[in-house]
């Protein structure tokens, strides 16, 4: 254990402090000069997956798809060099630093020192004789073009011309006709990238990084280089940049942040949407809920296909509508994907990490709620509860037309509710590699074990997803932790009534103030002012009146500001915006009144 120096100084006194400080000064340069042993670092941190011999056969490798890199092949996906060339040292360091999103490979930038990571690069190079030759030549890339609408549109054309859709699908969700047949160079099944989730791209999701992959390909995978067709004049470099912009545009502008609360807006004057394609969903912000493999309860699953679901919710005071969308290339079980599923099952091997099933399983989605709300933050165990705290699960399956409501006391223990107690309906649609499933349930079903969904309060909710054509079923799927569902209150009537009242009052007071001001002056304004009612008031009363009006307006401005922040916080940016405008106007009016009153009732000014 190392004690921080200041603490030590306080604890053991100046002598110890000086001694330690001196030893640090003396010792530090020596340890910095010591060579970092790349092999030792590798054996400690990397060999568990990649194996001490670098062949990618570490003890943990069999649970991973894609398998850990076999360094003896010297095949590297992320490069700034041409296809088939070795990576540069910087390329290798980038992957060590950042990891490979969407795989088991984490980033090491915060774990290992720069020296250790550089020593690792050197050690990785000893696994293949190819690195004994000349250093690879780094490609010169052109500068990024601007991501204009025209660039994106031209990229969309190129997407068709160079037939990206054959693997990646028309909407980019990895559902192209060739996708079920893809293998990597070591013979393992591999997914065509889901281009709508750029945060999972190997080598990075920025436009520049996408362009680089288009130029270099991802060696060892089916992803080829498109440099040759630029060289051959089939497309221009600018068009290739357009393609990069287009691919980038398929993903959200920002990587979705994990937010804890899914808000269900209250709709008025209508009931909740009954179909997944209802236009009402276009105005509801989707919340991203990441999922991970279920690796707690045996049999475990280390190869989940669904990396996250998008959740939207609405309610109408009577019923909740929950729309869950996620990428899944196939409507399982799909015969086209049967071989792929079989390969996945074989790749994951026997044992509790291995898939327990044969191909032919459906896709599934589970929405999970507690059966009762506790006062505190206590929630059931996130994997479908336990004996003490059960969960209420809504299960949808691609081979069943409706949802099944069950009570579960642990993963895989769901017992369907009796027929009379089934209160959840589901409608599903699969298109272009995406599932959309709409669940609906009354807020209060009257069912004994159904939670009454309270308005204005948060309810724990969790999600679980299975892709049958990825060999998933039973306990082997993807799970989320607990999130919160918040059913928004109906908008109070004051929200609609208060602004007009405030405006009318403001106008009235304003007129009065102007009247007073103008009655006290001569000139052009006085003429107009004569049409208004006159009040004869003493200066002190005027001052009190003007100050009162000013303070009242500032008070109303503050109230409007409060409304604005409530609006923003509740996600109603329109309400927030208009209340901000009103608050601003009221504040200006209030300050004007105060200043005007002060000017016109100054004792020094001789009023005539």
């Amino acid at each position: 254990m190392r004690i921080p120096l200041p603490l030590l100084c306080a604890w053991r006194g100046p002598a110890a402090c000086v001694a330690v400080a001196l030893s640090m000064v003396v010792l530090t340069p020596v340890s910095a000069e010591a060579q970092v042993d790349g092999e030792a670092v590798y054996n400690e941190w990397c060999a568990g997956c990649h194996g001490e011999d670098g062949t990618g056969n570490g003890v943990a490798a069999h649970t991973m798809l894609p398998r850990p890199r076999d360094f003896t092949l010297a095949l590297y996906q992320v490069r700034t060099t041409t296809t088939g060339a070795l990576p540069t040292d910087a390329d290798m360091l980038k992957v060590i630093d950042e990891g490979m999103p969407g795989t088991a490979m984490p980033g090491w930038e915060d774990v290992l020192t720069q020296e250790e990571r550089l020593a690792l690069v050197d050690h990785l190079k000893t696994f293949s004789r190819f690195f004994q030759g000349d250093a690879p030549e780094q490609l010169e890339f052109s500068s990024a073009t601007r991501g204009t609408d025209e660039a994106i549109a031209s990229g969309q054309e190129v997407y068709q011309t160079v037939e990206c859709w054959r693997c990646h699908g028309q909407q980019g969700r990895g559902d192209g006709e060739s996708a079920p047949t893809l293998n990597d160079d070591t013979g393992f099944p591999i997914y065509a990238a889901d281009l709508t989730e750029n945060w999972t791209f190997n080598g990075g999701g920025s436009v520049e990084e996408i362009y680089r992959v288009l130029r270099t390909g991802l060696d060892g995978t089916p992803m080829p280089t498109f440099a040759d067709i630029v060289d051959a004049g089939v497309i221009t470099d600018e068009q290739l940049w357009g393609l990069a912009h287009y691919v980038r545009s398929l993903s959200p502008e920002e990587t979705p942040e994990v937010r804890e609360v899914v808000s269900a807006r209250r709709i008025t004057g209508a009931t909740v949407p009954e179909t997944v394609s209802d236009e009402a969903w276009q105005d509801v912000e989707p919340i991203y809920v990441p999922l991970v493999g279920q690796i707690v309860v045996k049999p475990r699953w280390f190869n989940p296909r669904v990396g996250g679901v998008w959740v939207q919710a609405l309610h109408d005071g009577q019923e909740l509508a929950l729309l869950v969308s996620w990428t899944d290339p196939s409507l399982s079980p799909d015969p086209e994907w049967a071989d792929f599923a079989q390969q996945i099952i074989e790749s994951m091997g026997p044992g509790d990490e291995g898939a327990a099933t044969a191909p032919g399983e459906p896709d599934q989605l589970v929405v999970q709620l507690p059966t009762t709300l506790s006062d505190g933050m206590e929630r059931p165990y996130f994997l479908q509860g336990d004996a003490r705290r059960p969960t209420n699960t809504w299960t949808w399956q691609s081979d069943v037309s409706d949802a099944v409501e069950s009570i579960a006391r642990g993963m895989g223990t769901a017992v369907p509710q009796p027929d009379g107690e089934q209160h959840v309906t589901a409608e599903a649609r699969h298109s272009d590699g995406e599932w959309k499933v709409l669940f609906r349930r009354s807020l209060d079903t009257g069912g004994a074990e159904d939670l009454v969904l309270p308005v204005g309060q948060t309810v724990p909710v969790a999600f679980q997803a299975w892709d049958g054509d990825n060999g998933e079923s039973g306990n082997q799927g993807a799970v989320s932790t607990w999130y919160f569902l918040f059913l928004e209150q109906p908008t109070p009537i004051s929200v609609y009534v208060a602004p007009p009242i405030a405006l009318v009052l403001t106008l009235l007071f304003g007129l009065l103030v102007i009247r007073q001001a103008q009655s006290a002056t001569s000139g052009a304004g006085a003429e107009a002012a004569r049409r208004l009612p006159r009040f004869r008031l003493t200066k002190s009363v005027e001052r009190a009146f003007g100050t009162g009006v000013g303070v009242a307006w500032l008070g109303m401005a503050y109230g409007a500001y409060r409304n604005a922040s409530l609006g923003w916080d509740a996600g109603h940016s329109d309400l927030g915006f208009w209340w901000t405008v009103i608050a601003g106007l009221l504040a200006i009016a209030g300050f004007s009144a105060l200043i005007g009153t002060w000017i016109h009732t100054r004792p020094s000014e001789g009023r005539r």
Binding site: G54, T55, L86, V162, T181, T225, I229
Partner: protein, 287 residues
């Protein structure tokens, strides 16, 4: 430790494998039954007056497996190019029992000679979503042209062991030229868009190789006199070797008999053919 890391694969150094410009003159070089490039006669190290030949048959006995039909229904352009329903080409046995798509090459006995790199390009066509030919031989360093005659997306994904691979896309009718600097039998090549498309390229650093057609006949011409080991490679049935002696002006007989019992054979891919640098010779330390 380093040795242990390296012993995993029997591979040889890359250096000195590209055929250097030979010395000597006169006619020489061998024929390439696959229709490959011609050697530059002027620089061959072989005296044509002394050469002999080898020819014979590659046959198959036993029940040949029925080749599965390839479903090209999703690829109308390609399907239309086939008058008969296209089938896989892994085991093609002719009427006379000849086994097609066998790569036959001189494996041992020719190491001491350096042959010039042929200048003519070998063409591998992607036509009807099929590689034509399915098996081909080239000399190390010899350029080969990958042609897309289909006008739809193919990617050409080569996964050699001794050479660096490549993976290029060809979305339109176009050509791409590549070469492998190092001898290697065989380099597997696939199209990921069309999972049924497969190609094997045999890379050797001399001109004495051939690929059988459906009649199973094979001929290697213009070998200098001496003792050789000839190997026949098939993608399902593995390899058979045969020792032959070449005498000036004579033709030695080649005879390779594959049979259905060999279906479980190990099929070598990416094996080094450079026996001057046997396994373990490689220096592992990059310093």
């Amino acid at each position: 430790m380093i040795d242990r890391l390296w012993n995993k694969r029997g591979v040889a150094v890359t250096t000195a494998l590209v055929a250097a410009i030979g010395c000597g003159g006169g006619e020489g070089g061998g024929s390439d039954a696959s229709g490959g490039g011609e050697s530059t006669a002027a620089t061959s190290p072989v005296d044509p007056a002394t050469v002999g030949h080898a020819s014979g048959m590659v046959t198959f006995t036993g029940m040949a497996p029925t080749m599965a039909e390839i479903d090209m229904s999703t690829e109308a352009t390609c399907a239309a190019k086939h008058s008969m329903a296209p089938t896989e080409e892994t085991v093609v046995v002719g009427d006379g029992g000849g086994l097609a798509n066998v790569f036959v090459y001189v494996k041992e006995g020719i190491e001491s000679l350096d042959f010039p790199t042929p200048s003519g390009a070998v063409v591998i066509d992607q036509d009807g979503c099929t590689y034509r030919p399915h098996v081909i031989g080239v000399q190390a360093g010899q350029e080969f042209t990958l042609r897309n005659s289909d006008g739809l997306l193919h990617n050409i994904n080569a996964s050699p062991t001794e050479n660096r691979g490549f993976n290029v896309s060809q979305p339109v009718i176009m050509e791409t030229n590549r070469s492998f600097p190092t001898a290697e039998v065989m380099v597997p090549v696939r199209c990921d868009v069309h999972g049924w498309m497969s190609l094997y390229i045999g890379v050797v650093d001399h001109p004495y190789f051939a690929v059988t057609g459906p009649d199973g006949s094979v001929s290697v011409q213009g070998l200098p006199p001496g003792d050789y080991v000839v190997e026949a490679w098939h993608e399902v049935y593995g390899t058979i070797t045969q020792s032959i002696t070449i005498a000036t002006g004579q033709t030695a007989e080649l005879s390779f008999e594959f049979n259905s019992d060999m279906a479980a054979a190990h099929v070598p891919l990416g094996e080094p053919t450079d026996l001057m640098h046997p396994e373990g010779h490689r220096t592992a330390d990059p310093q």
